[in-house]
């Protein structure tokens, strides 16, 4: 920590949504300072006011919101101070970009779809500096190189939608950095990215921050990220600061109950996994050699896209009472597995997929019809990723919970209501909330309701497609606990889909790691986590940040595993057709060239 005065000092800042009469502060009395070259992390659950804090500093508060108190003294270039909350718009505009800039959360929507990436990045320079076009371009290309674009020229010409998520985030970072600001506010720069990309982006930010000696305010709710990046931490909850201090102290000796809860909730892959019961012979779902190809999207213009092989030669068995996890990066075909298994879609012909209920009847899932399909629907249910989208906004919780029973004509009205109340209790919500509508609930509560709905028919198999990735860590932990509890109680079998190995590590009995439609490694959880063989599995594990300042990201591993299959080390590399799964130890199979 340098001795010189802080670059920014926020004192007693309050933000309110000013509807006359009912304006309550959503950010209340927040104070912190940022020194040059320092990384300050702002953490806290969703809705705690992190983003608003960041936006307030940029003068970008949404309509209706306003700073209701406090000041934010920013040391401008010549040593003078100015209060960001009291600048004129013009002064603020001059500060933006050159002195303070912001990295936004969603790289796709943060970039205009109609302009090339180069154009948008360059605009930052054109707005603030009068330099020639070619000089501009030169600087942008340099910056693109610096943020790790493999081909800066191409990136310059590309439109945002032509870039992958990681590259887009790089473009956004480049935009924030290009004018050499002294303070960068990074608002959850990695939450939209999958873990391997996240690791690379975090590394990039650290590197740039060091090289350019910028101060960074890092907004996140992920303590793992904090541990890897920050010098100091500010923990927020409900618009107030709960705890603030140097990162080590806060993470390792948390003073506040909330911080402790947060740290406990943060998932991480344990060093040693408890040995779980081996897979029972009684498989509830058996899948063998399944393929699924989506026809390429036909466009209104031009030839249709080539078909997408979403799932290739997929085999998996879910034992009764077992939790099988499917992990893998975005787009690797995880959801496709879920959809096929629930007969939301039909697989390509060939392959086997059967369901065997408790009653011993074996159903061939792809060919189900009529009454059999109804029976199957009662036994297999799904929990969706986005708790906000999964509940119809026009139905009360009561309607939502009784609907499955209504559809299948089970029970009388009275019984249905009782069951709904029971379900509410079961998922930890008060039955008095039954009359309410989904929009009154928080994300975690909604996910509980969604789970309750899935349980209403007392299914045997529950497919959870990333049930927690939309929730913040503390809520996520609660939901995971709930799922675990339910499993014990009701003897459920889970197919659990996630891209986060750390989450999976808590629940799974067996794990299948997927990459581009293929399972690359599969086996009992303890073996996969304890003895990962495939470079991609290793990369995934290496990429999940731990909330522990002593275990920083191992980027080398990430880089080795996350690339294209061709770039994987032998004997895993392939191009064209994939090699087969090879059993390395009993029950543990890895996709590699046969030795």
């Amino acid at each position: 920590m340098t001795a010189d005065a802080p670059l920014l000092s926020v004192e007693d800042m309050s933000i309110c949504f000013g509807r006359p009469g009912i304006s309550t502060n959503v950010v209340d009395g927040v104070s912190f300072t940022v020194s040059p070259g320092e990384v300050v992390a702002v953490v806290g659950e969703s809705g705690s006011g992190k983003t608003l804090t960041g936006k307030a500093l940029m003068g970008l508060l949404p309509r209706g919101a306003g700073v209701s108190g406090g000041r934010a003294m920013f040391r401008s270039g010549k040593g003078g101070h100015c209060d960001l909350f009291r600048c004129t718009r013009r002064e603020l505009r001059a500060l933006r970009g050159t002195s303070i800039s912001m990295i936004f959360q969603e790289p796709m929507s943060a970039l205009s779809p109609l302009h090339t990436v180069g154009d948008q990045v360059e605009e930052m320079l054109r707005v603030h500096e009068s330099i020639s076009g070619s000089a501009c371009k030169g600087r942008v290309l340099d910056m693109f190189g610096e943020v790790g674009f493999p081909d800066p020229e191409r990136a310059w010409r590309a439109y945002p939608f032509e870039l992958s998520g990681g590259l887009r985030q790089r473009a956004v970072i480049a935009m924030a950095m290009i004018a050499n600001p002294r303070l960068v506010i990074a608002d959850e720069p990695t939450t939209a990215l999958d873990v391997t990309t996240q690791a690379q982006v975090l590394d990039l930010i650290t590197r740039l921050q060091r090289d350019h000696r910028m101060a960074v305010i890092m907004i996140t709710h992920d303590l793992g990220v904090v541990a890897n990046m920050a010098d100091r931490v500010v923990v927020m909850r409900r618009g107030r600061i709960m705890e603030a201090g140097p990162v080590r102290e806060v993470l390792h000796q948390p003073g506040h109950a909330y911080t402790r809860a947060l740290i406990e909730a943060a998932p991480h892959v344990p060093d040693t996994m408890p040995t779980r019961t081996p897979m029972p012979d009684d498989a509830i779902v058996t899948v063998r050699n399944l393929n699924k190809t989506y026809p390429g999207r036909s466009r209104s213009f031009g030839p249709p896209d080539p078909p997408v092989q979403a799932l290739a030669d997929f085999s998996l068995a879910v034992g009764r009472g077992e939790t099988v996890a499917v992990v893998g990066e975005s787009g690797s075909g995880k959801s496709t597995v879920a959809k096929l298994m629930l007969r939301a879609e039909c697989p390509d012909p060939g392959g086997v997929m059967t369901f065997r209920g408790r009653d011993g009847v074996v159903l061939d899932i792809p060919s189900l019809k009529g009454g059999e399909l109804d029976a199957f629907r009662r036994k297999a249910q799904m929990v969706f990723q986005d708790p906000y989208a999964a509940l119809s906004p026009r139905m009360s919780v009561m309607d939502i919970l009784t609907e499955p029973l209504l559809i299948h004509g089970i029970c009388s009205r009275k019984e249905r209501k009782d069951r709904a109340a029971n379900l509410m209790r079961r998922v930890g919500l008060a039955p008095s909330h039954l009359g309410r509508f989904p929009h009154a609930f928080s994300g975690g509560q909604r996910q509980r309701i969604a789970i309750a709905r899935a349980l209403a028919l007392q299914p045997e198999l529950l497919v959870c497609d990333e049930p927690t990735s939309a929730l913040d860590v503390s809520v996520q932990a609660e939901v995971l606990d709930l799922l675990e509890e339910l499993k014990e109680e009701m003897g459920l079998s889970y197919l659990f889909i996630s891209h986060d190995l750390a989450v999976v590590a808590r629940l799974a009995d067996r794990v299948a790691v997927m990459r581009r439609g293929h399972v690359v490694e599969e086996g009992p959880a303890e073996t996969v986590f304890g003895d990962p063989r495939h470079p991609y599995t290793k990369a995934l594990m290496a990429a999940s940040p731990d909330p522990d300042c002593n275990q920083k990201l191992d980027l080398k591993l990430v880089a080795a595993g996350a690339g294209k299959p061709e770039s994987w080390p032998e004997p895993f590399a392939y191009s064209g057709t994939a090699p087969p799964l090879v059993e390395v130890t009993p029950g543990h199979r890895v996709r590699r060239q046969a030795a």
């Binding site: 806060v250 506040h256 109950a257 909330y258 629907r377 928080s442």
Partner: protein, 380 residues
């Protein structure tokens, strides 16, 4: 700032879990909609205005001082008649003077001759004029306002046949205000069925509907209007003609709606909660009824309120082209059509007054539509 700050605020995860995220949103959807709608002062006022107007429609016979086609030979092209309360300095209550229109051979106009010696008090809640059917139940001569015995009361003047414009506007509202409702219903039935089928089933149905829409939209409305109007059997009564006109307006309006319905259906089908219902084993009919429709209704209501003004204007346009209603039916479009000449604009400007209700109603519907759209938007 190297110190380690710890707040003394308490933290209890269990209490946290039960607390509602947005307590202010804790109510049934329609309550929330109603609340948001009420915040829209203008839209709300317009809603009330329209509700009152529609409620008043059945009672027009009672409210209007005269019948729609009552001809007053002696009050041709009479200007609006003033209502005054005092006469010669003394209070007489709302009264009019006797007015006679006499031809003026120099200007070729009817000249107003006012006899301002004798005030003629208006009568309220009295019986006068020709009997009218009250709610289609019985005939009565009871009216809210009656001119004095032997006097006249032309609040907005009279037209070229001496028909009371104020009364005609009221009577015209009966048709003009309902033309939109019927038209919108027709357009919605067609649009919903076709667009819904296209959106829900896709495939060749979708392709066919899409082509039909394309064809429909590449034709100017004019020939379709004319062809459809020509298809109305000429010997139909005014009410059937009126319904046909509404139907025609509806027939012309459906493609836009069908497109909206289709895309909305396509989008709704992809919603997680619809998928969830499917995975629960719900039948398509139930999915459409219980899941898609409620979420689509708001959109429909909003577009309906926005479509009605277009229909009201469409009726005036049809009247203009001579394809619309015919006397003795009365509609605002027909009244405006009567006003469509220089003489009306220059010499008898009061004949243009039906413009006012048209504009008012169109404005009211538009603002109501806007307010509804905002109120029904779950994200606002």
């Amino acid at each position: 700032m190297t110190e380690h700050y710890v707040s003394d605020a308490p933290y209890d995860p269990e209490a946290d879990r039960q607390v509602l995220d947005r307590a202010d949103l804790d109510a049934a959807t329609w309550v929330l909609v109603w609340r948001r709608f009420r915040r829209h002062k203008l839209g709300f006022a317009c809603g009330i205005f329209l509700a009152l107007v529609y409620l008043a429609l059945p009672f027009v016979g009672f409210l209007a001082p005269y019948g729609p086609n009552e001809i007053h030979e002696d009050s041709i092209n009479a200007p609006p008649q003033g209502v005054f309360f005092t006469h010669a300095g003394s209070w007489v209550g709302p009264s009019t003077y006797a007015v006679e229109m006499v031809p003026d051979r120099d200007t070729f106009t009817m000249r107003e001759v006012v006899d301002d010696t004798k005030p003629m008090p208006l009568r309220f809640l009295a019986a006068c004029g020709k009997p009218h059917e009250f709610l289609g139940l019985f005939e009565t001569r009871a009216r809210l306002i009656c001119p004095a015995e032997g006097g006249t009361f032309h609040l907005l003047g009279t037209d070229r046949l001496g028909r009371d414009i104020f009364s005609r506007i009221l009577w015209g509202a009966q048709l003009s205000m309902t033309v939109g409702l019927i038209g919108v219903t027709v357009s919605f039935v067609i649009g919903l069925v076709l667009g819904g089928m296209a959106g829900y089933f896709g495939g060749w149905i979708d392709a066919t509907v899409q082509r039909a829409i394309e064809v429909f939209r590449s034709l100017p409305e004019l020939p379709i209007w004319m062809a459809l109007s020509a298809a109305i059997p000429v010997n139909w009564g005014p009410i059937s003609v009126f319904i046909m006109i509404s139907v025609i307006l509806g027939l012309l309006d459906w493609p836009g709606l069908a497109r909206a319905v289709r895309s909305k259906f396509l989008a709704l089908r992809e919603e997680d909660y619809v998928k969830a219902a499917e995975l629960m084993g719900a039948k398509p009919s139930r999915i459409i009824r219980a899941h898609m429709m409620p979420n689509f209704m708001s959109h429909l209501i909003a577009s309906a309120t926005l479509a009605i003004p277009a229909m009201i204007l469409g009726e005036t346009a049809l009247s203009f082209l001579g394809l619309g209603l015919r006397p003795p039916a009365v509609s605002w479009g027909m009244m405006l059509n009567d006003a469509l000449n220089l003489t009306a604009v220059e010499i008898y400007p009061w004949i243009l007054t039906p413009m006012v209700p048209v504009i008012l109603v169109v404005l009211a519907f538009s603002f109501l539509g806007d307010a509804l759209r905002d109120a029904l938007d779950p994200y606002s």
